[in-house]
């Protein structure tokens, strides 16, 4: 399972490196969304700072939906799906590999957007840095849940509009926990309690994915 996961993750990241979709399409979209959010709030720095965590996760949600869809589309051609199916890859390993690749992409994007939050939304640098562990875990959980829901909504072959509708109820608790822990890191509060909720969600989604990804692929 681990060997398959590594193989699939490396393959997905190499495809991303070649296609540059993340670099030239998704990342600029995320930065623009963050800048527009800052402009919409107006020039008051204090207002920006309190809204910063929420806006950061809202933009991450939009970016994640694009990347989840992209992660499934690269497997979407019927011929590719059929050929890869005959390789007999362990579905649990495929799930872990795709979730890992998606997590790496989300972490890289998140890092850039956190920098953007400091510059555009004026979140305190020290607080933003101390929020990093919770951001890493929350985005990891988002990647695991997103990989699961990507497969559930057709694995790149179903309508793309289905993914946001079905996945938002699952993403909402993650986004709330992420926003709360980021806010706690900036303004003080129970950072670790929210961080723990994200961690439990990460473990739960990984477990569900390992158990169910094969069934979703078959269906």
């Amino acid at each position: 399972m681990i060997r398959t996961a590594w193989l699939v993750a490396v393959k997905d990241l190499r495809i991303e490196q070649r296609s540059r979709v993340l670099l030239w399409q998704v990342l600029p979209f995320g930065v623009m969304a963050l800048v527009l959010s800052g402009l919409a709030l107006g020039p008051t720095h204090a207002g920006h700072s309190s809204a910063g965590p929420g806006l950061f996760y809202l933009v991450m949600l939009l970016v994640a939906l694009l990347m989840i869809n992209r992660s499934q589309v690269i497997e979407g051609s019927p011929g590719t799906r059929a050929s890869v199916a005959t390789l007999g890859l362990d579905p649990a390993g495929v799930f872990l590999g795709k979730a890992l690749a998606l997590a790496v992409e989300l972490w890289l994007t998140g890092l850039v957007l956190l920098g953007g939050a400091v510059l555009v939304l004026h979140t305190a640098l020290a607080g933003t840095l101390s929020a990093l562990p919770s951001v890493v875990v929350t985005l990891g959980a988002l990647a695991a849940a997103g990989t699961l829901y990507g497969a559930l909504t057709g694995g790149g072959q179903g309508p793309v509009t289905l993914l946001p509708v079905l996945s938002l109820p699952a993403f909402a608790p993650l986004l709330i926990a992420g926003e709360r822990s980021f806010s706690a890191a900036l303004h003080g509060g129970a950072l670790w309690r929210w961080w723990l909720i994200s961690l439990v969600a990460l473990v739960a989604y990984l477990g569900i994915g390992i158990l169910l990804y094969g069934v979703l692929e078959e269906s």
Partner: protein
Amino acid sequence: MSSPSPEVTLRDAVVLVGGFPLLSGVNLDLAPSSLTVVTGANGAGKTSLLRLLAGLVTLSSGAGVVAGVDLKGDLRELRRRVGWLGHEGSFYDDLSASENLVFAAKALARPTGEVASVLERVGLSSRAATSAKQLSAGQRRRLGLAWLLLRRPALWLLDEPYASLDDDGRTFFDQLIGDVVDSGATVVVSAHDPLRSRTLAPRTITLAGGLVVADRS
């Protein structure tokens, strides 16, 4: 002395997708180490039959055993035993020819050193670093064959392999398929062109409306 058990056995095989019958009761036996061409008009059920044999669609009713696996059993196990070359293209477009094969080799726990020799055999050595999406239709077919040569399955299922091929490509495919059958594998090829089938195959099956309407050995 008893004859070897068939590589493929289908009895009244029906495949329904969305209530529509793609196969309407196919009966078929294919011997090991044989070459069979499946012909028929568009929508006759050629691709559906091959997909059923590959374990890519489920049997709705009837019975079947392919490569020793019951079609109502573990289809994952069946897929591990067959090789599939679809007419849509079977690769990751953003990876090079070589990277696609290295991925397959690693997935199959085969030495990646085989990739270079397989690429050479299908005449793609000079295109090893070219991304799959930049290959011509004929080169993509050859890459598909390279993928199968790497896997060395007992049952080869080739869906319209001659589409978009020039005469050289067709000749190359014929030779390679002949070699594969000689090495003991079973090959099933779907093809539009019955003339092509007659020159190639010792056995030709014609489908119409999801049924076998002619079987010429």
